[in-house]
């Protein structure tokens, strides 16, 4: 099956600070992210031949991106795949480039959540009129049940389970403290994380990511043209995505103590990238830690840890900056918050910067030159979308 491996290069990326941007509109955020990417790539808006625009709540049509960036009469596709939107936009854009349809394209994702007037949005904006009888499935209440079933499945006492989750939060907050673009740049202690107010039992305040505004952008081009723009371009090595189908509800023997979409999607990406042992072969992974339990499940779902051994690896520091496989080196969703359409591109941004050796004080050692970016849209109870991009340095 032909994929994108070594056919598509990322030659520029941009990412705004993720924050409560009371003074910026989604248009401002788009301009900030795109122009950082344009300048990084050394291209101009008028060089862009096509664009992919990802958002869930902040504008429907392609013109939402065209208007602020003044992209003139080019094809722009809007991508919505919940929290996986940004990664899906990269995936779609990369296939268009790999197919030879375009030489140079823009991917941009942005979300302006802080204008909603609520701590967080919920529901499905694409399906506002329903029978409205099914429960309101706000994400944290679903991921709380992932934690509950994980602890139950492995027989983990609640205190012990909460401690594992707290260690993940402490790690990500440490990484975020080294990142000027993170919303939260403050270390937290294990005690703080474990004793934080409960949001949806057993998940507490520090188990959840913030609600944030932000935008991120990437310039993709044909790999054979990349050297015309820069020497340290980054190649796409593999794409993977798997969509669930409400299996935890329609199949009464399904055990949602992990996320099958992430298992399946990651295997596709590994196969395309030729990765057999991700724990050894990846230099870093930026994954979808919407909640700490999600990151714990991801360690196992993505094959970083054997099933049930995630907590041991957390305790051993496997995923810290200095560890065997640093995960969420930028602070993750935990410290960036989650402007939905932007997040996947922000994750790729960190992998891109790390592989270029430009991650400053949080720089990891680049050995294999391979890094993974992942987002998960949906919930472990309803099914969702696990989306992956594996990036690599040039040969």
């Amino acid at each position: 099956m032909p994929g994108v491996k070594d056919k598509v290069a990322i030659i520029g990326m941009g990412c705004t600070k993720f924050d409560e941007h009371w003074d910026k509109s989604v248009k401002d955020l788009i301009v900030d992210a795109c122009w950082e990417a344009f300048e990084d790539a050394g291209v101009d808006a008028k060089d862009i031949q096509a664009a992919w625009w990802s958002t869930m709540w902040s504008g429907e049509l392609g013109r939402t991106l065209a208007y602020p960036a003044k992209l003139g009469f080019i094809p722009i596709t809007r991508i919505e795949n919940r929290c996986a939107s940004g990664m899906d936009a990269i995936r779609n854009a990369s296939y268009a480039v790999a197919a030879g349809a375009y030489d140079l394209v823009l991917v941009c994702g942005a979300e302006k959540l802080k204008d909603i007037g609520m701590p967080s949005p919920g529901g499905d904006p694409s399906e506002p009129y329903t029978s409205r009888v099914d429960p309101l499935s706000f994400p944290v209440a679903c991921f709380a049940q992932l934690a509950q079933r994980y602890f139950y499945h492995w027989g983990i006492p609640l205190d012990k389970g909460k401690e594992t989750l707290a260690r993940i939060a402490v790690k990500n907050h440490h990484n975020g403290s080294l990142n000027p673009k993170a919303q939260f740049q403050r270390e937290i202690t294990l005690e703080q994380a474990m004793n934080a107010p409960i949001i949806s039992y057993p998940l507490g305040l520090f188990d959840a990511c913030g609600v944030t505004d932000g935008a991120a952008a990437a310039i993709l081009c044909r790999a054979d043209l990349a050297k015309n723009f820069r020497d340290d371009y980054i190649l796409l090595k593999g794409e993977g995505m798997a969509c669930g189908h409400y299996q935890p509800q329609t199949e009464d023997d399904w055990e949602p103590y992990y996320i099958e979409e992430n298992v399946q999607g990651s295997r596709m990406a590994y196969q395309e990238a030729g990765i057999k042992d991700p724990r050894r072969e990846l230099d870093l992974a930026i994954v979808h830690d919407c909640f700490t339990i999600t990151e714990l499940s991801i360690y196992e779902d993505l094959g970083f840890s054997p099933r049930g051994k995630g907590p041991e690896d957390v305790e051993a520091g496997t995923f810290t900056l200095e560890g065997e496989l640093p995960v969420n080196t930028d602070g993750g969703l935990k410290c960036f918050g989650h402007p939905i359409g932007a997040s996947g591109i922000r994750m790729a941004y960190e992998v891109y910067k790390q592989l270029q050796g430009k991650a400053g004080s949080r720089q990891v050692k680049v050995k294999s030159g391979l890094g993974l970016a992942h987002t998960f849209g949906g919930t472990p109870i309803e099914g969702g979308t696990g989306a992956f991009s594996i990036l690599g340095t040039r040969d």
Partner: protein, 466 residues
């Protein structure tokens, strides 16, 4: 022989100590939970009554209440659909009077007598509001009762009935009123209740050729226990031995449902051969002479009725909780509406009616997997359009996972049905701390949302009541 074939009742789990209403008051009253109303309570009572009864054998459903949530739209159809009754049945709402329940029973008996139906279920429910700090607020309670009327396998024979129609402005409520109005108590009782009920009782005694001494119990609506005793003495019954307990200290005056709830309570303690005199009140009075037959022992089994429901209760902590639940407290932002940008829509409710009201799931004819919500393509074996619908609402369920929704405070979880199938649903009548993976639960029909004038009813999992 025409009479009652089966009975059922429902008392909400939630109770309010009357001490919360007025210092020094003793006893409790039953109050509908935040997701309960006359429709949901009527469904619960109807299903209790229909336990062990072939749903397909029911030819009519009569609903009686003064607190129907719709002014224009039938309630009986909601209950009939939820109880999975046939479509070619007679559904009627009896309303606007507290004796609508007993009137519905009388009409049901006449319909059966006329031969146009074999079995008619009558369900009465009320959630009346007394204005804050009024005597009515102290007296009123919420509840529901159901009786199945027919002519085959009668457990309680309807020997005679007699009705009085009486125009009087004593207890009433206009379209604009949220709270029940009552004219001066002495006027209402002396010119209404204490005058009219005796008239009906005398009528039925005469018609049946019986005297008060022939009856083991007088089962009579009473605005409060004091007036009930007064009435009992006045018509020649002994308040100490013959007056059926009023449930006042446990449930309260449940309006339209009250006489039928008292009847269920009386039948729970009745023996074959007992005679009961049932009388209601509300712009007149319906009185009936009833004879309990041998069949009573059979229907006492497998019914929660009044007794089992009374024992299963939780007290609300304070008066504010009651005010919030009855929407008597001003609210700022209605967070569950703003949070989730979805609204009830009539066409999807129509399309999904089988999975909403009687909670039908699908069972794959090829691999046997039960699935909810109903699927067209089997999640297990991928067979297309080869399912049978099965009713899940009366299955026992086991709690698989659960959590508390932080924005709305609602409990939400996965439950597994006995016999297969799983459902993602809200959880009611409990709090997070009491839930445990693997605990047995049951499904209960509740109002899950209200918007655009649509009361959205659906099933929740609740802890087993008994």
């Amino acid at each position: 022989m025409i009479g009652i074939l089966a009975y059922g009742a429902y008392v909400p789990k939630w109770r309010m100590s009357r001490g919360l209403l007025r210092g020094g008051l003793k006893g409790e009253k039953a109050i509908a939970g935040p997701d309960e109303d006359s429709v949901t309570m009527a469904v619960a009572a109807a299903l209790d009554c229909l336990n062990g009864v072939d749903r397909g054998s029911i030819d009519g459903l009569f609903f009686a209440s003064t607190t129907a949530p719709y002014k224009e739209k039938q309630i009986a159809t909601i209950i009939a659909a939820t109880a999975d009754l046939r479509r070619d049945i007679l559904t009627v709402d009896f309303t606007n009077s507290l004796r609508a329940g007993t009137t519905a029973v009388k009409v049901a008996a006449d319909v059966v007598k006329a031969g146009s139906a074999k079995k008619v279920i009558v369900v009465a429910a009320d959630t009346r509001l007394g204005s804050p700090e009024s005597d009515a607020e102290v007296d009123f309670g919420d509840g529901a009762a159901a009786v199945l009327v027919g002519d085959d396998g009668v457990s309680v024979e309807l020997e005679a009935s007699y009705s009085i129609s009486n125009e009087l402005i004593d207890v009433w409520r206009t379209e604009e009123d949220k709270f029940v109005r009552i004219w001066e108590e002495r006027f209402a009782q002396t010119q209404g209740y204490l005058k009219v009920v005796p008239e009906a009782v005398r009528g039925v005694l005469e018609k049946s050729g019986r005297s008060p001494g022939d009856f083991s119990k007088l089962v009579v609506y009473a605005p409060n226990p004091r007036r009930g005793s007064e009435l009992c003495r006045k018509i020649g019954f002994d308040p100490n031995n013959q007056l059926q307990d009023s449930l006042y200290g446990l449930v309260g005056n449940t309006g339209t449902a009250y006489p039928l709830m008292l009847l269920v309570e009386a039948l729970e303690g009745a023996q074959a051969g007992d005679r009961l005199l049932l009388a209601s009140y509300g712009n007149g009075s319906d009185a009936s002479a009833l004879l309990v037959t041998e069949g009573i022992e059979k229907i006492k089994r497998n019914r929660r009725g009044i007794g089992a429901h009374i024992g299963s209760k939780r007290l609300i902590p304070d008066y504010n909780t009651y005010l919030k639940w009855r929407k008597l407290m001003p609210r700022g932002m209605v967070i569950d509406k703003l949070y989730f940008w979805t609204y009830p829509s009539a066409p999807p409710i129509l399309r999904e009616r089988n999975r909403i009201y009687p909670l039908h799931g699908t069972k794959c004819k090829i691999c046997g997997t039960v699935q909810y919500p109903p699927q067209r393509v089997c999640a297990k074996c991928h067979t297309k359009d080869d399912f049978e619908e099965i009713r899940l609402s009366d299955k026992k369920v086991t709690l698989y996972s659960f959590s508390r929704e932080p924005a709305t405070g609602q409990l939400i979880g996965l439950v597994n049905f006995d016999g297969g199938g799983r459902m993602w649903c809200n959880i009611g009548d409990t709090n997070y701390e009491e839930l445990k993976i693997g605990m047995p639960m049951e499904m209960s029909f509740r109002e899950v949302f209200y918007d655009l004038g649509i009361h959205d009813y659906f099933w929740k999992a609740v802890p087993v009541r008994v």
